[in-house]
């Protein structure tokens, strides 16, 4: 019976190896980040973050074993129940949560703290996958099929917003990837990206110049178009799009000043010009860029990073762990990390595509999208390409909740993937 084959035969070892590599590199760099030449502690000493991280890795290994042992049908069957449990935890944390760094999002159990928000990604992924596993649902044709998905995402997002953890909430944008794959029209993510681009361009240049540029481009498009398409509709569409874009350009001011909170506005402004507030919001970005930039091609060497060792970069072992890699291991080290992530995510997409069930594919895309989004935001902010949003780098950043949630997220998919030969295709 093929079902008796050990899981080790069927699990995708490429992903597992990348996972192990990420954990190992992350752990070593956490040690470097907290390393204090005066009070030297061992990498295994649980009094420092590296030692604790090792403990989290150990417990994550136990979790993985559990996940792999549990029957793969469990996840699909219990998707909505898991979702409900996480929602309950998110509600609970609002009342019983401990206040850490201004956000009431932690549940303290003895010496350890858990962040339910971290697990909301898993819950939403499972719920969306479960919902989309119904073959009757089509994202290409029916607008009303989007509503449940919106609801699945909006409920935890709202609860997380209440606990002041906006960073985790933004990650939900990553579900755009899976929705796109499952049939969402391409213009929706395109509009989103154009909006973001316009926002940044508007903050950098004079509004009237941009408006002028849009009009010129539109004019060129209209001038060329009749030759290309010979369609009247294109003319009006182009004019409409141009007008909307100009509207956005002038709406950005309103958006920046009236919609965004002060610190959010600051983070966006700092992205454009870190020197605008070098000792305030810009500090993190400037110091992080200095740390990475000073690493050079080959890096300063293990434990030799002066920027990171002497606490110039805040939240060194958590959100800014990539700085340590960049400073101590240089371009080579940083490139290896980027390469590992691109490989991991691409591999996940490939795995997702080979799934026979829609549930598994959707879930796989959710995992790939979430990890990608974390990677893009986290690394992007350390090199000054993204605004500072406090989300961890998967498998690298110090922290039990994030490590656990990413491990669970990933290995549920690997478990489902390992059982692929025995699943019937329904989608």
């Amino acid at each position: 019976m093929p079902e008796n084959k050990p899981i080790t035969k069927n699990v995708d070892w490429i992903v597992v190896l990348i996972y192990i590599a990420c954990l190992a590199i992350g752990w070593v760099n956490i040690y470097a980040a907290v390393y204090n030449p005066e009070v030297q502690t061992s990498m295994f000493d649980v009094s420092n973050n590296a030692g604790k991280q090792l403990m989290w890795i150990g417990t994550a290994a136990l979790l993985i074993v559990c996940i792999l042992v549990i029957d793969y049908k469990f996840y699909e069957t219990f998707s909505f129940i898991i979702y409900a449990v996480v929602i309950a935890l998110l509600v609970l944390v609002l009342f019983a949560g401990s206040n850490i760094n201004g956000s009431r999002s932690w549940i303290k159990i003895g010496a350890f703290s858990l962040q339910p928000a971290e697990f909301s990604k898993l819950a939403i992924s499972l719920a969306i996958a479960k919902y989309l596993s119904d073959p009757a649902i089509s994202l290409t044709r029916k607008l009303k099929d989007y509503y449940p998905i919106m609801g699945i995402i909006a409920l935890p997002a709202f609860l997380i917003l209440l606990s002041n953890e906006t960073g985790s909430m933004l990650v939900f944008a990553s579900f755009a990837v899976v929705l796109y794959r499952e049939g969402m029209p391409g213009f929706i993510p395109a509009i989103g990206m154009v909006m973001a681009a316009l926002l940044i361009i508007t903050l950098l240049f004079v509004k009237w110049y941009i408006a002028g540029a849009i009009i010129i481009i539109a004019g060129l498009a209209i001038w060329i178009m009749p030759v290309m398409t010979r369609r009247r509709g294109g003319l009006w569409a182009t004019i409409l799009v141009s007008l909307v874009m100009i509207g956005i350009v002038f709406g950005v001011d309103f958006f920046m000043n009236n919609v965004l909170q002060k610190h959010q506005r600051g983070r966006i402004m700092v992205l454009l010009d870190p020197d605008s507030d070098p000792r305030g919001i810009g500090w993190n970005v400037i110091q992080s860029k200095i740390a990475i930039g000073s690493g050079g091609f080959a890096g300063k060497g293990f434990l030799q990073g002066t920027q990171t060792k002497f606490d110039f970069v805040p939240e060194q072992s958590t959100d800014f762990i990539f700085c340590t890699v960049g400073e101590e291991h240089g371009f080579i080290g940083a490139a290896v990390v980027v390469f590992l992530f691109v490989c991991l995510i691409s591999r996940l997409v490939i795995l997702a595509e080979r799934q026979r069930s829609r549930f598994a594919r959707v879930y796989g895309y959710c995992v790939a999208g979430i990890i990608f989004f974390h990677f893009m935001i986290n690394v992007g902010m350390t090199i000054g390409l993204m605004p500072v949003i406090g989300i961890p780098l998967p498998f690298f950043s110090y922290g039990g909740s994030s490590l656990w949630s990413f491990s669970i997220l990933l290995f549920i998919f690997l478990k489902i993937d390992a059982q692929r030969p025995f699943t019937l295709s329904r989608g």
Binding site: I292, G330, A335, I345, S346, E353
Partner: protein, 647 residues
């Protein structure tokens, strides 16, 4: 169709990855500025200021050395002073000083340490060090202070003070930083580059809070501070102090030179002050007091004050006359046909007698012959050519020239030439009869005491001199600047000096300076009286001794003291005796000179009559206050209120 979207998705993921790789490559490999910023961030360059070089006298005695002191620095952001009252008591400052110092420091930088109190002595440091543990944000930095073994040579040595803003901006290569010390005058200024030594740099690591985290790269890149070069002067400290004491209550100069080398043996600028008062943390206050003092103690008279040389000038006239052949040693002149008066003296039938009796008509005639030496019949044209010829010869004695002494602001003096008179009278509109007062060292001539001491040295050397200089040895190898080893010729043959020196010996033995002759030493000297329109004439005397083997050449100028024989000659001869024999035999003369007070005769600007001796004593700025209690300095001590220092 939807399956193909995976390529879009993977493509997008890879694109982001590629963009990040390019960005990383730019940040880490292409853009060098970040590694520099990282260094300035966590690697701090600590400058070690070396000790300035010490200065020695000719016998090896220390004149200037360094005392370690402590600066108190504050980092405003870290400063925690709970009990301000006690804190102020400990430091001996007042509450408002505390507030203003703190405000100044915070204005400079809240994160960087800046100067709070400067130059605490070792004793002060010891007494407050323990208490300071209670206050965070304060640290001590070792520094040093110039210290002078004797309260002398203030103007020659100069002083050291914090670099001024304009100096900071004007420096050609950026070496100094704000609050660095720099030599501001005298030797300290001229030999700044030698004295300052080489600054050491240490690279230390610090964390984000600026806390020391050990040497960077185990100190591989550190350079040691190298102490400044010691300077060896030709000054004889004992003689210098003796000359100082003789010049108390007088305004003037003493310059003594070793003729064979050009080394300055003694250089007194009276009135003077104790150099230690400008090397304390009360610098500003004391400097202001000195600058306000009407007797100008900061004015370095030996090289900056201008006088007419008076009769001392006749020596050079005689020498040039002999060299030019317009007179012979046996030439004699009478008082006849001369517009200038003279005193009653025996007939001047030789050059020696002319010098000895300082006969005005004699040198009127010498000068006349020098001017009309040429064959031009037109007296205007002859005078013009003659004066320029005379000017050239005179220049070789250093008159009207900068000698090039190693002190700042040397005054050039004035030696008129044709062009000079043309400006007053017009070309060929003047002749000898307009300029004859030059013959006896009056008229438009201007010299400094240093120049006349150098003239004495030229005569002592019978025709040559070395540029007078204070420093005759730099560093352990006692390197001498080549310009001080270069022999300058006066253009007068050695044989022509004999009759002049004979006359100078006569002047001391039985002529104008006979009252101050020294038993057992043959001094060759010449008095001079420099006319002073404001009040009493300046007393001048130049001399060298012993006459047969000169070891010292000297010029003494005493303002408002009258004739050369009255004050300058006695002081010069006492100094010569002190230098040559280390003792003084004529105690009565010494006593008289020590007590003599010509300062009360000084007519200060804005004051019509000289103030009487009695009233000066009561005045706040009296002779006493300048020399004995120089400018009422604030002595550094813990009990005194310190002067606020801006970082």
């Amino acid at each position: 169709m939807l399956e193909n979207r995976r390529f879009v998705i993977i493509g997008f993921f890879s694109l982001v990855g590629l963009i990040y790789l390019l960005r990383l490559f730019y940040l880490q490999v292409l853009d060098e500025s970040y590694s520099i910023e990282s260094s300035s961030n966590s690697i701090k360059r600590v400058i070690e200021i070396p000790f300035r070089g010490q200065i020695y006298d000719r016998t090896g005695k220390l004149i200037v050395y360094n005392t370690p002191v402590y600066d108190l620095l504050v980092t405003p952001r870290k400063a925690r002073v709970e009990d301000t009252l006690r804190f102020c008591q400990v430091l001996g400052i007042e509450r408002r000083d505390f507030d203003s110092l703190m405000a100044a420091a915070a204005a400079y930088s809240p994160f960087k340490p800046s100067l709070f109190l400067r130059q605490l002595s070792k004793e002060d440091f010891a007494s407050i060090q323990d208490v300071m543990v209670d206050y965070s944000g304060f640290e001590f930095a070792k520094s040093s202070l110039r210290t002078y073994t004797a309260p002398t040579l203030a103007n020659t040595l100069g002083y050291v003070s914090e670099i001024t803003r304009s100096q900071l901006e004007k420096q050609e290569e950026p070496y100094y930083r704000q609050s660095d010390y720099i030599g501001q005058s005298g030797i300290e200024k001229i030999y700044e580059n030698e004295l300052r030594g080489k600054r050491g740099t240490k690279f230390v690591m610090q964390n984000v809070a600026g806390v020391y985290k050990g040497p960077w790269k185990n100190g591989e890149l550190d350079t040691m501070a190298v102490a400044g070069e010691n300077l060896y002067t030709g000054i004889d400290l004992e003689v210098q102090q003796y000359a100082d004491s003789l010049m108390v209550n007088k305004v003037g100069s003493v310059v003594a030179i070793e003729p064979k080398t050009g080394q300055i043996i003694s250089m007194v600028s009276a009135p003077t002050y104790d150099p230690n008062i400008l090397a304390s943390r009360h610098f500003s206050k004391n400097f202001a007091a000195l600058a306000r003092n009407p007797y100008k103690p900061l004015f370095n008279r030996p090289v900056m004050a201008s006088y007419r040389p008076g009769s001392t000038f006749k020596l050079i006239q005689a020498l040039i006359g002999l060299q030019a052949g317009v007179i012979t040693p046996e030439s004699g002149f009478t008082h006849a046909n001369c517009p200038m008066g003279c005193h009653v003296h025996p007939a001047t039938s030789t050059v020696a007698l002319g010098v000895m009796h300082s006969c005005n008509p004699y040198f009127y005639n010498v000068f006349r012959r020098l001017i009309y030496k040429n064959n031009i019949t037109n007296t205007f044209r002859a005078s013009a050519v003659g004066l320029d010829d005379w000017h050239d010869k005179m220049s070789k004695f250093g008159i009207g020239q900068r000698l090039g002494i190693d002190l700042p602001s040397e005054y050039k003096g004035n030696l008129p030439n044709k062009k000079y008179y043309d400006r007053f009278y017009g070309e060929y509109r003047w002749k000898f009869s307009n300029i004859y007062s030059l013959s006896i060292g009056e008229g438009e001539l201007l010299i400094t005491p240093l120049k006349m001491a150098n003239v004495a040295a030229i005569i002592a050397n019978r025709g040559y001199y070395y540029t007078p200089h204070v420093i005759h040895g730099i560093g352990d190898k006692k390197y001498v600047k080549p310009e001080f080893l270069e022999r300058h010729d006066s253009g007068v043959d050695p044989r022509h000096f004999d009759p002049v020196i004979e006359g100078m010996i006569g002047a001391v033995e039985g002529g104008t300076a006979r009252r101050s002759r020294v038993e057992g030493i043959t001094i060759a000297g010449k008095t001079g009286t420099s006319q002073n329109k404001k009040g009493d004439d300046s007393s001048i005397f130049i001399a060298f001794a012993p006459a047969d083997d000169p070891k010292i050449a000297i010029a003494v100028f005493v303002e408002y003291a009258g004739a050369g024989g009255s004050a300058a000659a006695p002081i010069a001869n006492l100094v010569i005796e002190k230098y040559l024999t280390r003792k003084v035999t004529n105690k009565a003369l010494e006593e008289r000179m020590l007590k003599a007070d010509f300062m009360s005769k000084v007519i200060l600007p804005g004051v019509k009559k000289p103030v009487s001796t009695d009233s000066t004593k009561k005045k706040p700025v009296s002779a006493d206050s300048v020399k004995k209690k120089p400018a009422t300095p604030v002595k550094p001590s813990a009990s005194n209120r310190p002067v606020a220092v801006n970082p």
